[in-house]
Amino acid sequence: MFYQTSTRTFMLITFTLICIYVAFTADYFGLEILTEILILAMIAMALDMVAGFGGMVSLCHGALAGVGAYAYAVCTAKLGWNVPLSIVLTCCFTGVIAWIIGAVCSRTHGIYFIMATLAFGQMAYSFVFESAYLGGDNGLSGIPRLDLSAINIDLFDSRNFALVCLFALFCCYLFAWRILSSGLGRSLVGLMYSEQRSLAIGQNVSRIKAHVFGLSGLILGLAGSLGAQHIMFISPNLLMWTYSGEVLVVTILGGLGTLFGPIVGAAAFILLKHQVSEYTNYWHLAVGIILIAVVMGGAKGLYGSLEAYIEQRLRSRSSTSTNVISEEE
């Protein structure tokens, strides 16, 4: 069950303040990294919604964000529609695609679910790769950014763009919180613990799974369109299955089933990537070893362990204080 505990609220506010501080002090390169972190955090959070609270370990979330990026590029660069409408359409389109994938895959379990989502991600990849209309191997360029000059904000400034991404991430968090604490979200957590019991009390398990998958697709659509606006160029590499795997790594690294954890995971992952890349070309070796170490250690991820520690401290403190009271009585 998802609870917005005071620890999480505190962490979220701290994170937001740190991001705002970084946005106003960092140079151009730092701002680019910040934007990269924020977009990856959105994708990983969408994955946490389905994997951490529904047990649906999806290996196509990176690819779905790529679908969002392509949908946005087609709406704007190819069809010339206006940008706000394109973003809304992108979110809806990605959500519908995600809903369909969720509906088909919800019949499968465990390793078959992972394989099925992997296959769908690859389907999107090979479709984009071979489509001449979508630019194939060369990708698409000339993607416009949102025009906010009406309210005096120039989004071609990387600081403003990073702040917009931060705002989007904040909204996504509120959205995911709302979904997970609704009846739908509670049913999802219930069926993760026991699908048999959910079926026995008359819930339509497949539909619940598909709905939440589709809703996480809305976040992916937003993340994809922001990603496309950020680099202003997209290529089929966005849809590679290894990217979806990296999103899963980020989620695990931060802490599965905490919703805030993926944000921490994204920050740690991107910062580590840039640090390691300065010393060596073999970044994948480092990520592989870290991943094996985190999973074999049975750890709850960076934020997950921290949260467990804090919660335990708080609980022991409150229990000692109740003990004192009971002794006085």
Partner: protein, 288 residues
């Protein structure tokens, strides 16, 4: 397009299917017995190809083909002892993640050892000719690959169906707890099967090396087709592995002839249809 063209396409599809079979059978038997999915299987195949190419460079092709499976089996042994044994009891997600990390680590290790440049492995003189099949000139080496796959299929089928160890493996796939109650050392069986699966991946890498260029990413590229094969066929069965390989090989080859634009999309659509109608694949093992 005359008959010769179709026979040629048919043979190409068959050759590709048998190569996929060599890879997927190891993966599928490991899954059937251990319920363990090894995403690093493709990396083992690439490792086999590299070992074959570097041994063949100094001692000739045949030495490379014979050394590769042993080298990969030794690597599998090390991985089993240090990683996979401990991951046996964890859920599918942890296993997928650990082998995903392993795949990345092995990819970069091959880069560190052999560099980024492609290695080439020449077809040996004794297999460089052409053979006439149904009036079609076909490269002898591709025919050899088909034969290796077919021999592996027959051998595995005989071992699984006729020998005592085959019976023990089948018992382990059906119900591992019951099998160990009957005095079968299931752990040791797992270990042997894992090493044999790795050796098969090594053979596949070695025989595929002269057909493709040996690059670090070859393991990543072959992994997805292999996974599709075992999902279509059903995890854990020999029949499933060969059926899935044939379906994939033929759809891919003939798809490229009829609809080049959609060749690779067709196979994913087919996979989705199979997952909707038969979520456990066409021939799932009883235990899975």
């Amino acid at each position: 397009m005359d008959t010769g063209f179709w026979i040629l396409q048919f043979l190409n599809a068959l050759q590709f299917s048998f190569l996929l079979f060599l890879l997927s059978v190891g993966l599928t038997v490991i899954f059937g017995l251990m319920h363990f999915v090894n995403l690093a299987h493709g990396a083992l195949y690439a490792f086999g190809a590299y070992v074959a190419a570097s041994v063949a460079a100094s001692y000739g092709y045949w030495a490379g083909v014979f050394v590769a499976p042993f080298a990969v089996a030794v690597l599998g042994l090390v991985l089993y002892q240090f990683l996979i044994k401990r991951m046996r009891s964890s859920g599918p997600m942890a296993q997928v993640l650990v082998t995903f990390g392993l795949m990345f680590a092995l990819l970069d290790l091959t880069r560190i050892i052999w560099g980024d440049l492609a290695l080439a492995l020449d077809v040996p003189a004794s297999l460089s000719g052409r053979i006439s099949i149904f009036g079609v000139e076909y490269p002898l080496y591709r025919f050899f690959v088909m034969m290796v796959g077919a021999i592996a299929l027959i051998m595995l089928n005989l071992i699984l169906a006729r020998t005592q160890i085959g019976a023990m493996i089948r018992a382990g796939v059906d119900n591992d707890k019951m099998a160990s109650c009957l005095g079968i050392n299931v752990e040791r069986l797992f270990f042997i099967v894992f090493c044999v699966g790795c050796a098969l991946a090594g053979i596949a890498g070695a025989v595929a090396a002269p057909l493709l260029s040996v690059v670090p990413e070859m393991g990543l590229e072959i992994l997805i087709p292999t996974l599709i094969v075992i999902v279509i066929g059903g995890l854990g069965s020999l029949k499933g592995a060969i059926t899935g390989s044939l379906i994939y090989g033929f759809v891919q080859t003939f798809g490229a002839v009829f609809a080049p634009q959609f060749a690779s999309v067709v196979i994913y659509v087919l996979l989705a249809l199979i997952l909707i109608t038969k979520p456990n694949g066409l021939f799932p093992s009883r235990g899975g």
